[in-house]
């Protein structure tokens, strides 16, 4: 453990030296944006920590502790419930396209859910709002069913395109909920105002609802109306959590370390700014770093 932090300390020093060297290049060779030095150093630090943690996880036999995320634990419970009731599972991977990280995360979680539905032989319905998401989600679902040895259960129409328009999509999904009465509704991706429409309709049909999103404005609506909500980071950690792969879990460990570094930096900035505002010094850390 101590070695790890020594490596990080050394690495950060190296990154700072590299950034300094790049900023000091003569004009003829200068391809580096000096005003972005702080962000560059931070980005390299994040990459270093992430890659090192993954390397440690590959070589270690110890299991990393992850706190229980009730929403993710409930996914299997939701699939089981649907199987018992003989009703389908509705999975909504958000309303945005694959250029959003949240949508990619949603499609990844769909893979895990499809694994479970293949195992339990439960019907899965995935209405999507973007054609590229449809293709990607189909691929992921197909692979899941193949992995579980149930290729005959896979039907490409289980992932189907509805419409690009936000509220037309909401109307269509609400209609599916009202007609098909899924026992479980999973909302994993990027959402806007339609989030409450989904959640309330799901509530009215008595479905168990699990939501996961990084859309900050929609989290309160999901928290209010759904049984379980994965907020922000928990949603991005879902894939690692469900797969239990050490390399992916290492990514979460790296996030935690970076968070500690960020907190330290914020405290330092507050102190620096306080001294600056009190007139005790002319130095302001934030201005100096061009942030």
């Amino acid at each position: 453990m101590n070695n790890k932090y020594q490596v990080y300390a050394g690495g950060i020093v190296g990154i700072l030296l590299l950034t300094l060297a790049l900023s000091s290049l003569p004009d003829s060779l200068n391809f580096f944006r000096e005003e972005k030095s702080a962000m560059f150093a931070f980005t390299l630090t994040v990459i270093m920590i992430m890659l090192y943690e993954v390397r440690l996880a590959k070589n270690s036999s110890e299991k990393t502790f992850l706190r229980t995320i009730p929403g993710l634990k409930a996914v299997e419970e939701a699939v089981g419930r649907s199987t018992e009731m003989g009703r389908p599972i509705l999975y909504v991977p958000g309303i945005m396209d694959m250029n959003e990280v949240e949508t990619v995360a949603g499609v990844v979680v769909l893979g895990h859910v499809a694994n479970m539905t293949a195992q339990y032989e439960t019907e899965l319905d995935v209405p999507v709002a973007r054609a590229i998401v449809m293709q990607s989600a189909r691929q992921v679902a197909k692979e899941a069913y193949m992995t579980q040895g149930r290729p005959e259960m896979y039907n490409e129409d289980m992932v189907h395109y509805v419409t690009d328009d936000q509220f037309a999509y909401a109307a269509a999904v609400n209609g599916i909920m009202q007609r098909d009465e899924p026992a479980a509704c999973l909302y994993m991706g990027k959402f806007f105002a339609e989030s409450l429409l989904f959640a309330e309709t799901g509530n009215s049909i008595g479905a168990i609802q699990i939501a996961g999103t990084g859309s900050q404005t929609q989290i309160p609506f999901f928290v209010t109306a759904c049984d379980y909500t994965l907020m922000g980071e928990e949603f991005f950690a879902a894939s690692a959590y469900l797969s239990e792969e050490p390399e992916l879990i290492a990514g979460i460990t790296a996030q935690d370390i970076i968070k500690v570094l960020l907190i330290g930096f914020i405290m330092l900035s507050i102190i620096s700014r306080a001294f600056f505002d009190l007139g005790l010094t002319d130095f302001n850390l934030i201005t100096w770093l061009n942030l």
Partner: protein, 288 residues
Amino acid sequence: MKYLEDIILKLGAVDRRIIFLLIGLAVLIPLLTPISLPVRETPTTVKFYEGIDSIPKNSKVLVSFDYGPSTRPEIHPMNVGVLRHMLRNGHKIYISCLWPDGIYMALDALEEITDEVNPDNQSTFNIKEYEDYVLLGYRPGAEAVIKGLASDLRKVYTVDAKGRFIDDIEMMDEIKNLNDFAYIYSGSAGYPGTFEWVKYGGDPTGVPMSSGTTSVQVNEVIPYVQTGQLIGLLAGMPGAAEYEKLIASPGIAIQGMAAQSFAHIVIVIFIVFGNLAFFIKQRRDRKY
């Protein structure tokens, strides 16, 4: 007392359709029989108003319509108010749209401005296309459009909404990119909108900008107001109503505030009864 408690328990378990009905009435009645309620300006709206007033007269401003019919009640009054304010100060307006629906909102707003008459039955603004405003129209690409505008407007717009070549429009002669505007305003209902304008428009170019957003988005956008990246903010329909009051052009936002007020009161009453029922039920369950 027990009889009262039973009534409260019944109210606490009321069918949601009753709630829907009461909310419907709470919104409909004030809209049909207008009730005037005093509107109090908040600092963010005042800052927004002063920000526009501080633009040097007869400047060139970019107004972006980034919303659709669903969020029209909140954003449209803001945008119409901004157009009024800009025109009164003699500014030339350039209208862009990042949403495909935005062009129709822009056409409606311009129609409203054009049809507005003063007490003498004369057109208040008497605006003419290509003299007072240019409707650039919608372009797909979200942030790519803003990045394009920041570097070279003609990369994004070769023709305006009516198909007229940009180079044939006299008002566009001195406009090369965003730096040639004195102010940027975005009436935004989501993506693409305020964030994209701040990240790729206002911040890199240093052109002063502000925005009007839906109430739900205010949470996300307020940090930009605090840091000065947005000069004030119009926050939802209350913000639109405050702005209408400041520019002395009462409109649909001020009318809508009574409906919103009564709807909120109904929700609060239901919440209170719901909690009273919850406590009574808890106490009765404890007894047994």
